[in-house]
């Protein structure tokens, strides 16, 4: 696996670091040569409101108020399926963060996608077991992102932090650090989304796919999270409950 680091500067505010650039193409080499770009843009919401860190108060389905101070997560193994059934796979990981002060971003640029009409997108929320067992890594998976457990090796897939007045934790904290690649606490989830209208990748064009991630979904269906009972999840215990909740957190906006 050739490890190289690509740093693509889209504009001043967005820097994307791609690590382990080893996208494997399930297409013939000829098709791959004519390449075109796709930007995946994440939009973070709480229900139908745009997520604002710290300053906005939201209410969960139990009527409990809360604020959000941090939202970070990993997505990877992005797979696009073309009408003819062929798949384009990018085996990289991306660190997505709502935090403007981090070298992470809310958009992912994908290069070299073969032309055609694509009907669906799939990706992992989390980091697969291979990358959890590969030792020191750089780029998105650099442990300086503080998305890493040291006492029980593994990446933290998602961090959601905030406050709720009903939480009995010090400072009324609510904190969900979700990770775990081993059974029975495997929190890797595959997100599958159909495009309402097929996504057309054509020569020399760049398209944008807007994805909505709804934080309130993380806290409900199938399990409603009661901040008085489960204000903190920071190890494998209960993590799968949240993981089962985040499967339906994403929606295609186009």
């Amino acid at each position: 696996m050739g490890k190289r680091m690509f740093q693509i500067r889209l504009n001043n505010s967005i820097t994307i670091i791609l690590c382990c650039f080893s996208s494997s193409f399930l297409f013939s080499q000829k098709e791959v040569k004519a390449h075109h770009g796709l930007t995946l843009q994440m939009h973070h919401y709480v229900g139908d409101k745009v997520l604002v860190l710290d300053d906005s108060t939201y209410t969960n389905s139990l009527g409990q108020a809360y604020t959000i101070s941090k939202l970070n997560y990993y997505i990877g193994n992005i797979r696009l399926t073309r009408k003819d059934g062929k798949e384009f796979l990018l085996q990289n990981y991306f660190f997505i963060s709502e935090d403007e002060e981090k070298t992470a971003s809310k958009s992912i640029f994908i290069d070299k996608i073969p032309e055609g009409e694509y009907t669906s997108i799939q990706f992992l929320l989390g980091v697969d077991s291979l990358h959890n067992c590969s030792g020191a890594q750089s780029g998105a998976l650099d442990p300086i992102n503080a998305m890493f457990w040291t006492w029980n090796t593994g990446y933290i897939f998602l961090k959601l932090e905030g406050k709720s007045p009903v939480s009995k934790e010090p400072g009324h904290t609510i904190e969900y650090h979700i990770g775990g690649y081993k059974q029975p606490s495997n929190c890797i989830r595959t997100i599958s989304l159909k495009f309402e209208t097929p996504l057309v990748i054509a020569k020399k064009t760049n398209v944008t796919v807007n994805l909505k991630a709804d934080v309130s979904e993380l806290l409900k269906t199938p399990t409603t999270i009661d901040f008085t009972k489960l204000p903190v999840v920071n190890n494998a215990l209960n993590a799968t409950t949240i993981a089962d909740n985040y499967v339906d957190m994403f929606q295609s906006m186009k």
């Binding site: 067992c133 030792g135 300086i144 890493f148 029980n152």
Partner: protein, 353 residues
């Protein structure tokens, strides 16, 4: 005039100190290509860590050694890896039952030795760490140990006049990131290989055992080697050797990692190489002498209800048997390893002055 000499003198001292950081010229501390050649002992199994993606070079090894012995990795710059892992103790810590970290904070486990690590498939007493390269992130970020963030450590290294040239030399470009830091540390600790004890020489006919040592080996093979398996003296498994846990430490061992009740109070079978030097013993350092360990194993067949069945098989040991096993355990001391100049702290001379 007087003050000028003083200034001159202090400049001299400062530059001497600076130069002494990297003692490449001192033959005792210098590292050659030969020094970083991985020599796998013939009777050892295949190692788990192969340096395949971390090519051994003298420059990277040297960087690793400087990182290991530099307090820059801790928040208040008082603790280095080497403050806990002492060379003369096979990189464990003599006398401390539990580890002491930054601000004198006490950890909840005894410091294990660092040797033959590339043959370990998991690390720590509970096996929570799955790869040698990521192991250092643990102590660096643990509030009870070095209490620093990875981000801050990398920033400090990027600004360090000492480390900038060391990274440049090691990687032929100036990039300083966590991957390079971790891989350099891994080269340093990964080459800590102990296989020159009297026992090793005895195996290949280069040393003779006394009758007592010989009998000790026989007893050891019958009673202990099922867990402390030769030649590494561990089978890398997790076992309950019957110790009643000290509830004040809130330590349930392997169970905290696997979340299986049956794994509670299981600990990694530790290697017994250099056991003479790695006292105190057990995950909580409860025994200060090997005598205590042998008395423990040899007094009764029933320590706890959930002890491993192999522990009951040890049976009661007679005083002679204990003495013989002890004599054998002392043949595992590897002076070549304990005195290996490659692993010595290059700043030590300066610090002692």
């Amino acid at each position: 005039m007087k003050s000028r000499t003083r200034i001159f003198f202090s400049i001299f001292v400062v530059s001497a100190m600076f130069l002494s950081f990297v003692n490449n010229d001192d033959p005792y501390y210098s590292i050659s290509k030969k020094d970083v050649k991985l020599v796998l002992p013939k009777n050892f199994p295949k190692p788990y860590y192969t340096f395949e993606n971390n090519k051994l070079t003298p420059e990277v090894f040297l960087l690793g050694r400087e990182l290991f012995y530099d307090e820059i990795l801790s928040k208040d710059r008082t603790v280095s890896c080497g403050s806990c892992h002492q060379r003369i103790a096979a990189f464990s810590h003599i006398d401390h039952t539990l580890s002491h970290g930054i601000y004198g904070r006490m950890g909840n486990r005894n410091i294990p030795s660092l040797q033959n690590l590339i043959w370990n498939n998991t690390f720590m007493w509970d096996g929570g760490v799955n790869h040698l390269e990521v192991q250092p992130i643990g102590p660096i970020t643990n509030p009870l140990e070095m209490d620093e963030t990875m981000e801050a450590v990398i920033l400090k290294l990027q600004k360090s006049e000492k480390f900038k040239p060391l990274f440049q030399k090691a990687y032929s470009d100036p990039l300083i990131n966590s991957e390079r830091m971790l891989k350099a540390l891994t080269q340093f600790v990964g080459l800590m290989i102990s296989n020159h004890s009297k026992y090793d020489k005895y195996l290949v006919g280069k040393a003779e055992f006394t009758p007592q040592e010989e009998n000790g080996l026989k007893l050891f093979r019958a009673k202990c080697a099922s867990c402390h398996t030769e030649p590494l003296f561990t089978d890398n498994s997790f076992k309950n050797n019957g110790l009643i846990s000290d509830s004040s430490l809130h330590d349930i061992g392997r169970g905290a990692i696997t979340r299986k009740n049956e794994d509670n109070y299981l600990y990694k079978v530790p290697t017994l190489r250099n056991i003479e030097m790695t006292y105190p013993y057990m995950h909580d350092g409860r025994f200060s002498k090997l005598k205590d360990v042998l008395n423990y194993y040899g007094t009764t067949t029933n320590h706890t209800t959930n002890q491993d069945p192999l522990i009951s098989k040890i049976g009661v040991l007679t005083p002679e048997e204990k003495k013989d096993i002890l004599a054998f355990l002392l043949t595992l001391t590897d002076r070549e390893f304990l005195n290996d100049r490659r692993f010595a702290d290059p700043n030590m001379g300066q610090k002692n002055k």
